[in-house]
Symmetry: C2
Subunit: 536 residues, 2 copies
């Protein structure tokens, strides 16, 4: 649920710009201080386990929601000595950190019920499914809680890129597009360099290095040309690959000509695995994403109260009061109180709950929309993508409404049924899919997928389709700000005794790491407030 | 033991050249036949389990050597109905497919003995350590023999590239060099495209596509410039990464200027994971590479006779006779016979054995040299590369004699000791390391490695160093031809009743897949010979 929001924008200042702003507004002393701090800055805002210090005696914190943000807050506040009570709507913890397994039942908004009929051991992550290496916080909690990670294959050179408008709708192997694009641009740049077009920019020495670099980078020949032959085939594939015995010698295949490559538009897929949140290495918890949620929930034990539906949140000078409907006990109305509260309820839900937040925060809560997403898990009787097409993990990208097909990065070579991500889309497509019954979402995914993998319909075994706008506990995939720049500090600011947290209050929206970092920042401020109040 | 030989050369013909040659020499009919065959050609010479058909009644094959080539031959010939006897020098099967574990003892040529002192469960692969996705043969045998594979992280954006001559010898994160090189070349090519330098080559439409492609590929801004900002930082890393709560907004870092980048020479590392044999996805057997050898040996059971040293190979019109020294029984001299023989003994060893091969093959055997390689496995008390530097799997490349440091792609986050590949070199460095005692190879690896990871010496626990020229059963890493083009067919040709097989008789030298493909080709021809002879 993350890719859609990995936007690339030039909005924030560079270090130099930042420092010069600091210098202009704060003078040299402040600037040098800022430089010193930045020299120590971590690449991630997470620099190891949070150290809150000691809670004020007898202080209690209510945590609303047992997703990643809520559970991180609860664990750390408990460890600091706070009395902690976590109120959760569902019967299990995790929120969007969610895994569906054989035997699970899921009822979406609108009443459609799906019974998951996967083979034993198979699973599907409707929400987050990846843990990038640079999400230090989530990785550290996995380490601390003994959640095992395994590599997820993000980029697979053997998987396809596919456009209905190119190559007669036939999929092309990723490695062919990747090699040919690198090759052709390296060839072009070499040509113009040799023609003197860069003489004013580059020294002779730089030109020599550039040409050598392009030769390696683009698989060029000794004349810095990108041509068919073993240089190119050693990356894009052969007509006959190097083998053994009598016919061992390879036969190269032919590279695509530049115009064919450019007009295909398939080069648009070549940066996907370059962005930090999607670049190698990237991981998944063994056995399903909710292994993280389960480990956190086990750590919290009976601090989490399940099947409690919050109906009212209010605060006074003395504390916070929350009323919930106890779904586990005949919907009895229960009132619970605390000194402070961390509210991780998504704003899509919170906006429908009776509360008395201050005006600025209320404005954020009521104006935040939640983007949609559709994910379809398809189980097949055999792993035809491995057996027939030599695709192990990774993703095929397509301009069809399913957007991508991602192959499982676990149980390689298994002879049992396998589950792949058969559709993962956002925006208009997600709305369309949301309006269908689950069975139709699945059959449409099979229709589209068959254009890439003709085996799909014959090998289909079962499926599950989650449209995030219909997920009862979030009503959407992730929070989208009306005007983030203007509203952000209103959203994250502590409102007297309550602070909100979650992916929606971060610059890593839709990622568990965003929820976690938001939570750690929120509880730091809550703790500071509580400590200051206690010290008075 | 493979990378050194993944040469990129333009030696073999392209498909078009090949077909035009076929047309010129064989006429149109042959050309069309060749085209048809090529249309069906697999990307790999391996297209599924070999189907030999039925062996002649009572036919026996001797297989010399229980490495990958020998065991593949033995399994398939047995399954076809041949009586099979495998003669192996060592006490275990696998040959270079070899894993060292805690408690193992290894005595190299020269007498130095190393006792492996790793923590329980840790291991080191002195020989092959990777199974590329395009090695269909090895992968299929893993499937058939239930050898579990897990992803090996080949490229790690967080690992380092390092040159003693650049950046004051400080390592740089791979993602910085990779992003900056892509960015700068895309920026340069955009500039000259906009200046009209490519007007004669590209149509207006192609130019538009090219500029759009470069913008994506190179993380350029809307003006197709590569500059510091969130576009670049979203790939190369931030000064302060996007986070949550109050200080959630990111601060970009600064890109390297082009001249610094070019003069660093570090761009030379950017194609390593593009070549087919090193590109993602790539795998390792869970628990060590020899899980493949073990599975094959288990499949063969008592067909393999261990600790037998072949001393003489001869053949007559009636059959093959092999004399071996039975090291398991007081070095008794034993003679065994068969109708045919598959000889997988490395030519480095075979050249020292009494044999009566025909002149052309003998010439190949005696003229083949074996290249050297050094691999050092280092065990540390903790996985500091993960805990301190956020490096999970993948490889750091350096111009130091250790050449690379590869981090384990298993047991991520483990709090127990971890083993990494601390040195993996060829050529002159391998010779230097071979001449040292094992302990010195290890201490030198630590000295060099400490220039990249200062924690190394403090965290060091134990190590093992394998110099392939001193490995008694191969005397080298892989076979190198004196003149492959001229000699190859002499090497692979069946000599009356004996055919040779192994990585040295393939175009995938040093790879298990080369050994396997060579073996399958060899036994196909052996079977054809045997069937023809029986049919007479």
């Amino acid at each position: 649920m993350e890719d859609a929001v990995d936007v690339e924008e030039n909005k924030s200042p560079t270090r130099r710009e930042f420092l010069s702003m600091v210098g202009a507004f704060g003078g040299a002393a402040v600037m040098y201080q800022a430089m010193g701090m930045m020299g120590l800055a971590q690449a991630s805002p997470y620099s190891g386990p949070i150290k809150l210090g000691q809670a004020p005696a007898g202080a209690k914190v209510l945590v609303l929601g047992a997703g990643i943000a809520g559970m991180v807050a609860a664990m750390e506040l408990r460890d600091a000595g706070y009395e902690v009570e976590v109120i959760e709507y569902r019967g299990v913890a995790g929120g969007r950190c969610w895994t569906l397994r054989s035997g699970d039942t899921y009822e979406e908004l609108g009443g459609a019920v799906q019974k998951v009929d996967f083979a034993e051991g198979n699973y599907f992550n409707p929400g987050p499914w990846r843990v990038p290496y640079n999400h230090y916080g989530i990785i550290d909690y996995c380490r601390r809680l003994d959640v095992e990670l395994e590599a997820l294959i993000q980029i697979n050179n053997m998987a396809y890129v596919h456009s209905t408008k190119a190559f007669d709708g036939k999929p092309v192997r990723y490695r062919e597009i990747n090699t040919d694009f690198r090759g052709h641009i390296s060839d072009l740049l070499s040509k113009v360099t040799n023609q003197g077009a860069l003489d004013e920019i580059l020294s002779e020495e730089d030109k020599t290095s550039l040409l050598a670099g392009l030769r390696t980078f683009g698989a060029l020949n000794a004349d810095n040309e990108y041509v068919s032959g073993n240089n190119a085939s050693g990356r894009r594939g052969y007509e006959r690959a190097p083998g053994g015995g009598v016919d061992g010698a390879p036969i190269a295949n032919e590279v695509m000509d530049l115009s064919t490559l450019l007009s295909s538009g398939l080069w648009s897929r070549l940066a996907t695995s370059e962005t930090l949140n999607s670049s190698m290495p990237i991981f998944q918890p063994k056995g399903g994403m909710d292994m993280i949620a389960r480990a956190m929930a086990a750590n919290l034990g009976d601090l989490v109260k399940y099947e409690k539906k919050v109906t009212k949140i209010s605060q006074s000078e003395d504390g916070v009061e929350v009323i919930y409907q106890d779904m586990a006990n005949g919907d009895a109305e229960v009132t619970t109180t605390a000194d402070y509260c961390v509210c991780t309820i998504p704003f899509s839900i919170l906006s429908q709950i009776d509360h008395d937040f201050a005006r600025p925060l209320t404005n954020v809560i009521s104006s935040m929309s939640y983007n949609s997403s559709i994910k379809v898990g398809l189980e097949f009787n055999r792993r035809f993508w491995e057996e027939d097409e030599h695709i192990f993990g990774g993703t095929t990208y397509t301009d069809l409404p399913i957007s991508q097909i991602s192959y499982p990065s676990n149980d390689y070579l298994s002879k049992k049924p396998g589950v792949l991500l058969g559709c993962y889309s956002w925006g208009a497509t997600a709305y369309q899919f949301s309006s269908m019954e689950p069975a139709e979402r699945i059959s449409r995914s099979l229709d589209f997928g068959s254009q890439i993998h003709p085996q799909m319909k014959q090998e289909f075994k079962s499926g599950v389709a989650v449209a995030w706008h219909r997920v009862p506990w979030t009503l959407g995939c992730y929070g989208a700000w009306q005007d983030k720049e203007a509203q952000y500090q209103d959203g994250v600011a502590m409102d007297r005794r309550i602070v909100c947290a979650g992916e929606h209050l971060s610059y890593l929206p839709a990622w568990m790491e965003g929820a976690l970092l938001s939570s750690l920042d929120a509880i730091s401020r809550l703790h500071e407030t509580a400590t200051n109040a206690a010290g008075k």
